[in-house]
């Protein structure tokens, strides 16, 4: 595959995909011994650079272990006006708390989530399941066999994380951990 075709193919594959595209997948589909993963990454980085310019309406990001095309955030208003869609609903504070708990304690059960939050989270968990941000990952082997929850790939994509390890470390975020004399 010549350079032009390679560039064209990678661009077309990205623009016609929903969700992140993996380098392995791209390389495999090209199926050319001469085109290894490094070369594909090079092409991707080139495109990313090309699309970064102000007059471009598309960006290339790395998320959830792959590469994904998205429009720049500042175009949201205009795009919503154009497509006639209302803004996506924000996640509630309760929803964000449950996501945080599932995110860094997974797999976790509903009783455990409730305990950490000190509040019933049943409805919130259901909403997050419906939105595909968390998923059921089996049952815990304790009395009652409660369901275990994990974050989904969609969660990584939505929050722009490459892996779950990229979730901010709460220990590092809390700065007044040292008690002050009063």
């Amino acid at each position: 595959m010549d350079t032009d075709s390679l560039n064209a193919f990678v661009e077309a594959a990205l623009l016609t995909s929903r969700g992140p595209v993996s380098i392995v997948g791209l390389t495999e589909a090209i199926g050319d011994a001469e085109v290894g993963e490094e070369l594909v990454v090079e092409v991707l980085e080139c495109l990313q650079e090309l699309w970064r310019r102000q007059e471009r309406g598309i960006r290339l990001e790395t998320v959830a272990g792959g590469w994904r095309c998205v429009t720049p955030p500042n175009l949201d208003d205009a795009l919503r006006a154009f497509h006639g869609l209302v803004a996506k609903q924000r996640l509630s504070q309760a929803g964000l708390e449950v996501l945080a708990i599932v995110g860094y304690r997974q797999p976790v059960t509903l009783p455990e989530i409730n305990f950490v939050r000190g509040a019933n989270s049943t409805g919130v968990v259901k909403t997050l399941l419906d939105r595909g941000l968390i998923r059921i990952a089996g049952r815990k082997k304790v009395v009652g066999k409660p369901f275990l929850y994990r974050t989904t790939k969609e969660f990584l994509v939505h929050f722009g994380l490459d892996t779950i390890e990229e979730l901010p470390d709460p220990e590092k975020m809390v700065i007044d951990e040292v008690p002050e004399a009063n």
Binding site: L14, D76, L91, L96, N120, F159
Partner: protein, 271 residues
């Protein structure tokens, strides 16, 4: 620094209540953290007595509390009261149990604070990332259907798909017709019709049927008429298509008892 409440974040279960603080606190731990922060206390050295009183005060203000949520707040109130009682009563020796409970509260507050930190980071990400659009370019000849990432297919999606299939099946396969005992017997209708035609000499059938509301009765009457005509008990004539059908006495005498017996034997022989 952590804010006890994050006013920017709307609470979904607020429901637009009155002026009380409810929408700001999504749980007892949230309220407690807010009070500690407001008083500039350290989590590790909470003056239980002060906090307990302030907590109760807030609780009184939250009159509109939903019953389910109220339970959570009351549970914390009782915990605080329990801790307060221990601090007020001087104990001769080290109160081990009290210390443990107090330590547990500190740990839960710390853990909840971590959760709030991560949640606020997610909140920031959500603000920007909700605004991103994916391209939707098609390829000629390929239907790129929105498929599920296998990793994200869980029991709930499996169960949902099953229910969907079964619902679709039910809607395309209506349940078999319910068989209910006949309310109107053809035999009875034959007897009635015959007697009526004999008496009135002429019966306008369509008008007669029009007065019957029950479709089952209409069916029974039509079958009875056909049967009577076949047996010669009545004659039917119609001047033109869609015109009224008149029933008149037929050439033969119709004896219900004889006819039905005959009928039955005929049928048995016929099959």
């Amino acid at each position: 620094m952590i804010e006890g409440t994050n006013a920017q974040i709307p609470e979904e279960s607020s429901g637009g209540g009155p002026t009380v603080v409810i929408p700001d606190f999504i749980g007892p731990l949230d309220l407690l953290l807010h009070l500690i922060h407001k008083n500039r206390f350290s989590i590790f050295d909470i003056p239980i007595s002060v906090i307990c009183d302030q907590y109760q005060e807030h609780l009184r203000a939250m009159q509109s509390l939903v019953l389910e949520m109220a339970g959570e707040f009351l549970w914390m109130a009782s915990w605080l009261l329990h801790l307060k009682s221990r601090t007020l009563l001087p104990r001769p020796s080290a109160d081990q149990e009290g210390e443990d409970t107090r330590q547990e509260l500190v740990e839960r507050l710390l853990e909840y604070r971590r959760v709030k930190e991560v949640a606020s980071a997610l909140y920031d990400a959500d603000i920007v990332r909700r605004c991103l659009w994916e391209p939707d370019v098609g390829v000629k000849g390929i239907e790129i259907e929105p498929e599920l990432d296998w990793e994200d297919v869980d029991l709930r999606r499996l169960a949902g798909a099953y229910l969907e299939v079964m619902e679709r099946f039910a809607s395309t396969h209506p349940p078999p017709l319910e068989v209910t005992p006949l309310k109107f017997k053809v035999e009875d209708k034959m007897r009635d019709l015959y007697e009526r035609v004999q008496k009135e000499k002429m019966l306008p059938l369509l008008r007669f049927l029009d007065n019957r509301l029950n479709s089952e009765e209409v069916v029974a009457l039509v079958v009875a008429t056909l049967e009577l005509v076949r047996l010669g008990g009545v004659c039917a004539d119609q001047s033109m298509v869609f015109a009224e059908i008149y029933l008149r006495p037929g050439p033969k005498i119709f004896d219900p008892e004889v006819s039905f017996r005959q009928n039955c034997s005929e049928e048995r022989n016929g099959h």
